[in-house]
Amino acid sequence: MPILEYLSYGFIQRAIITGAFISVLCSTLGVLLVLRRLSLIGDGLAHVTFGSVALGLLFGVYPIYISLPVVMASSLGILKLMERARIFGDAAIGILSAIGIAGGVMIASLAGGFNVDLFSYLFGNILSISIQEVYTSIVLSLIVLTVIVFNYHDIFSITFDEEFAKAGGVNTQKLNTMIVLFTAITVVLTMKVVGIMLTSALLIFPAVTAFQIARSFKNALLMAGAVALASVVIGIFLSLFFNLPTGASIVIVNAAFFGVAFIFKHTLRSGHD
């Protein structure tokens, strides 16, 4: 039975385990981000990461040491701009995104090229995960998810109605900062592990799929996590059986889930307006 044989390969095992943790992590953060109109923050921060890695390579410093602080700072910048005016949230993302990518290209050009292709350095691949990356992903996921669970009601409150939350004594500043920084860290680390395509997709798709069907906030979070997990497992097996690129397969499965949910919502519930 080919499945068992495939599962005996270390890289496939690592893909499944890491994929599972990362998918639940990204989908959970994704629910919060999409509801706050920050859906493209994953993409935006990835572009900033690109620029910061170029910077790191330029100075001969291990890029993650530059990326993490730069990206975290950028995410705080986006938050600040959002506080000014809600509509500037996505404009802020766009601005930082463009600066990040252009900066990276500029630096790479001026530096005359690096010893390693910037793109290949930057973007991980779910099939080439190392043991350290497995550990990092698991630890990151557990930390972020635990914090979210322990602050569930506060986070729900600020996501639903930040003003009311603040009036009720919730420390909105602290929580917003925390969510945004978690997002920054997640983007940088998971990008390196599974690549930006997958990180971005997992931040958006499961959440939006869940919103088609879930009626409560709790169910939205659970459903997003379930969809994300399923898409990773199904995507990996599909790519195994049909010899397709794995990352892209997972994204397509995500899209399929969304399609099904969308149709489900609009046919079965067409009575409602």
């Binding site: 495939y6 390693v116 793109f119 290949s120 099939l127």
Partner: protein, 318 residues
């Protein structure tokens, strides 16, 4: 207040444009007036031209050291440079698909444009019984392997093409170029012999590259089987099926080594190594070199010799 800001911004913009225009015009002069200016797109051509043209030419490498060649796109300054060159040599239309557009704008009477693949037979990956890699449609023609320079027999033909091109532009140097070309071809032939000998007694006949499908020509010339994780361009993701196939192959054939290449993060090679316990060895595809290598003045022949060493180790020839 706003109006003033706009005026200042425009002034700054003009200065910037002015300066960069200046820079573009001050393209490096040849120094001595009788040297012909040659621009080579890739490193192997650069090295060949240097060896054939020697003192009569001033060669420039279009691709800056360290840049990954399959995703290279020329900047305006590069294009301008080509317009000012006497000769422009590119590898072949599959390796540099962007050449087609640039050529249209160049005055053929001023700049001689050389396609180094003249007279060379391409390996069409779809015809060959070739394992590994899925075909990238990136280079405009499905399945044509653009890495012709890694076959030392092709390299000799390319040297001749260059010699003829330089002679055409600079007839006075005809004998000079002829002599240099013969000398360099001898070096290449010598290298070729070393390869043939060195690789004839290998216990393994298959080598695996965790990067892209670059070494097809080399493999074909010495009767080796070559498998790579990616297709012609390193952009694509390898499928899990491929990785499984390669892992199996490594185990079945008892291969202890797996190769990785220049300018590409060796993630896939590392993954395969991890899976099978194989060790990593470096193979230089000679598309382009790093900044350090350029600083040290490495040569194509030098790179190939190192490749031979590593192949001999990897294929357990000694």
């Amino acid at each position: 207040m706003l109006f003033r800001k706009i005026v200042v911004a425009c002034a700054v913009l003009c200065c910037v444009v002015g300066i960069s225009c200046q820079k573009a015009d001050n393209t490096p002069s040849t120094g001595e007036t009788h040297k012909i200016r040659v621009v080579a797109s890739l490193f192997p051509l650069y090295d060949f031209i240097k060896n054939v043209g020697k003192d009569r030419v001033a060669v420039e490498l279009l691709l800056t050291p360290g840049v990954e060649p399959h995703s290279f796109e020329p900047k305006p300054a590069d294009v301008l440079n080509l317009h000012h060159a006497d000769v422009f040599v590119y590898t072949n239309k599959y390796m540099e698909p962007w050449v087609a557009d640039i050529i249209k704008g160049i005055d053929n009477n001023k700049t001689l444009i050389l396609d180094s693949s003249k007279g060379i037979v391409f390996i069409n990956n779809e015809d060959e019984d070739h394992e590994g890699g899925h075909h990238e449609k990136e280079h405009g023609h499905a399945g044509m392997d653009p890495h012709i320079w890694l076959d030392l027999g092709n390299a000799v033909v390319m040297v001749d093409t260059i010699r003829d091109g330089l002679t055409q532009k600079d007839p006075a140097g005809k004998e000079y170029y002829q002599k240099n070309a013969e000398q360099y071809k001898a070096v290449l032939k010598d290298l070729d012999d070393k390869f043939r000998q060195g690789l004839s007694k290998c216990t393994k006949r298959t080598f695996i590259n965790g990067g892209h499908l670059a070494f097809g020509y080399l493999a074909k010339r010495y009767g080796l089987t070559y498998v790579s994780a990616y297709g012609f361009s390193p952009d694509a993701e390898p499928t899990p099926g491929q990785l499984v196939k390669i892992s199996r192959l490594l185990k079945e054939q008892g291969l202890k080594y797996i190769f990785y290449e220049e300018l590409l993060a060796p993630r896939v090679a590392e993954t395969l190594a991890r899976e099978t316990g194989a060790q990593l060895l470096f193979l230089h595809g000679a598309h382009n070199i790093s900044k350090e290598e350029f600083g040290k003045g490495v040569s194509f022949a030098g790179l190939m010799e190192k490749n031979l060493e590593n192949l001999e180790q990897g294929l357990q020839c000694r």
